[in-house]
Symmetry: C2
Subunit: 423 residues, 2 copies
């Protein structure tokens, strides 16, 4: 792992995978076909891509029961506890609608309403990610979304991974369809005979899923298109090198394009972490992925002071930030840009991936400068409420009309004045 002076700081931004023209054409055709052909087209694409001919897309109550038999009881209880923690953290984000009254009788406010329906995409393939189910579904559930639909491609036997089904059930999803890829996104956005359309689609997926989400955006809402994962660790000489190295590697094992960075004023720590990373790397099952990630995107920056280290992580705006320093709590106020901030040596990043409660869907690629973790607000929207009183219109009507005329909008002025005239 290379050690650089902070003066050599580079952005952690990596180019977002935008797909090829050819991939985009494929996605556009799939979407058009699903819109035109509904269930029949969806069945055909599912046969083609997932190699399974489904008579029904729906996951049945029996399949849920079977899933619970296939996983360990202890796993169910861990999922249940994690779900409860996630639920509890997201419930604290709930805001009420509010109103304010003025002396002249006017009432203004914001009415907060959950979305009617949300679709959650869960990727298929060899690995099953039940944590992703919990993190996408629970905020929507807490927000009050009535209809939460999950889609995920099945295996060639028409089965979904039991861990995913258990997580879905524990999160409160009742409606699951065994479809994936761009065809699933199209079905969620525009509906088919058996799948009613939704208002928003969230969840990660491959490049075809990402392209399809971009295509349907506007007709429905989508969450962010996430880039590869990243971690920055801000540490001083009080931190343990082996623990930091383990955290850097936990990020690196995700993806060859994941980015792991340590920022420290301690050259001794820098050198120890570099050694530890290579030592621990040797005995990792996902060694090849992690090694390439560390080689291409892993850096240790050495700063002159702790303040300079804080400035550095702010300029990186990392998805995950660990602060393992003597005065970590004091630094919290100075950290402006990070998706999730982990304070102290017991707050290892995987604690947030699975269990603590905050969401693991976080802004990547420096977008923590202006974006937030997935949260309850993402599943609600606001409507302004204006209840203008007779007195208020009589006091202010002439001013409003004058403002409108200033902008050349005569009909706006007259809409106000006709009420003053009628009274």
């Amino acid at each position: 792992m290379k050690i650089l002076r902070v003066e050599e700081l580079a952005s952690i931004k990596r180019s977002i995978e935008t797909g090829t023209e050819e991939q985009l054409e494929v996605v556009k055709k799939i979407i058009a076909d699903i819109r035109a052909g509904g269930d029949a087209a969806l069945r055909e694409y599912t046969e083609k891509f997932d190699r399974v001919l489904l008579s029904s897309f729906t996951v049945t109550e029996n399949e849920f029961t079977e899933a619970y038999h296939q996983v360990e009881e202890r796993f169910v209880s861990i999922v249940r506890e994690a779900a409860e923690n996630i639920r509890s953290f997201h419930e604290k984000q709930l805001r009420p609608s509010w109103m304010t009254t003025e002396e002249n009788g006017t009432i203004l406010g914001q009415k907060i309403t959950p979305l009617d329906s949300v679709g959650v995409y869960v990727p298929g393939g060899t690995a099953a990610y039940p944590s992703s189910v919990l993190m996408n579904v629970i905020p929507a559930k807490v927000a009050g979304v009535k209809r939460i639909v999950m889609v995920s491609p099945s295996d060639a036997e028409g089965k979904l991974p039991p861990a995913v089904l258990v997580a879905a059930k524990e999160a409160g999803v009742e409606e699951i369809y065994k479809v994936g890829g761009a065809q699933a996104i199209a079905a969620l956005a525009y509906g088919t005979e058996s799948i009613a359309s939704v208002d928003k689609i969230t969840g990660p997926g491959n490049i075809y899923v990402a392209l399809a989400k971009r295509e349907v955006f506007g007709d429905v809402d989508i969450d962010m298109i996430a880039g590869p994962s990243e971690i920055a660790v801000l540490a001083d000489e009080t931190a343990r090198a082996d623990e930091i190295a383990a955290d850097l590697l936990s990020q690196a094992e995700h993806d060859v394009r994941a980015c792991s960075v340590l920022v420290t004023p301690s050259i001794r720590l820098a050198e120890e972490v570099a050694l530890e990373v290579h030592k621990q790397l040797e005995v990792l099952p996902r060694k090849e992925i992690a090694a390439r990630s560390i080689e291409d995107y892993g850096v240790i920056y050495v700063t002159n002071t702790i303040e300079e280290a804080v400035d550095t992580v702010n300029s990186l705006a990392p998805e995950h930030l660990e602060v393992i320093t003597e005065n970590a709590m004091e630094l919290l106020g100075k950290i402006r840009h990070a998706g999730a901030i982990f304070i102290g040596r017991y707050s290892s990043e995987p604690v947030g991936d699975y269990f603590a409660g905050p969401n693991h869907v976080l802004p990547t690629n420096g977008t923590a400068r202006f974006s937030s973790p997935l949260n309850v607000d993402d599943f609600q929207k606001k409507s302004s409420v204006i209840i203008y009183s007779e007195k208020a219109l009589k006091e202010n009507g002439a001013k409003i009309a004058e403002f409108a005329r200033m902008e050349g909008l005569e009909a706006h002025a007259r809409a106000v004045e006709i009420r003053l005239k009628n009274d």
Copy 2:
């Protein structure tokens, strides 16, 4: 204005202007040129498109002073009062960062931080829209954004409209550049020698501005790309036809593609409003625009009941909704989808455009199903905070490691376990 039975209900969605391939190529070239050429390229494009050669892009203190001399004192005081109302409404949206403590010593929370910098685009051309300045700048200011930059193309004498400068000053903008079009968006997104880049760009503009905003999205955040404006009025026989007609026309005068809809169970009101619209239309300065809008997108839907009328407006999800019925307040709870809801006959829609306080930047084209008016949250972001205690890690570390292994992520498990082992 045509009168239809509600069974003939059509969506208010109109195709969003996406521009031509040629326009997109122009925009891409402009952005590349600004990134490569900085101020010099910006100066050249400004000369080409705005027909003015600027030695400096900056609006000076003298120009502000001059602007205040050029507008009526009464206008300044109206702008000031409007700004105060907008500020007051948006201040009520502010949320604190929060933390929650658990028995085992763990602290979790959300840290809410304003964006560092925001750019507001204000269109040029014949009409000046000071209200747009107030509505875009004030929420950012209230959110705590330190640096708010405004850009707007000047006239051939290098001047901006005095009303726009006055609104900017009253809203608290200090930094204004006389640049517009795709070149201004590129300058805001990537910076030039004289204009530092920003984190988010908001504000309306022509198709080149909209395309440029789409292009830079991801590198910076943007607000929504708004479609043409729309209003739905939900009224019963207690409403006055002339007032409703005036409100429908205030929307129609914006744009030939604006959409004005009345939904009512009263066939008498429907007929009276249709007559009134045509009567009032005859004497409107922007008659041609409003007439085309009413002809192409104006409809009166007659329902069987007031409940059916509520369902109808929910399915339209209009940008603006007026409710002028006997029991308007009782209906508020049933309205799920609308950008802004105006209750009662004194809440004419222009009241919200200029003066009452809520934002006039609202979701159009049915996106009120999942989007909100521009608000303080749009200028802040959240960071999750996780301060996991030693006790919590000892209680839960094994579960977290097991969850990670379930997902095949061994390095995640080890990052947790190394701490348990070290202690």
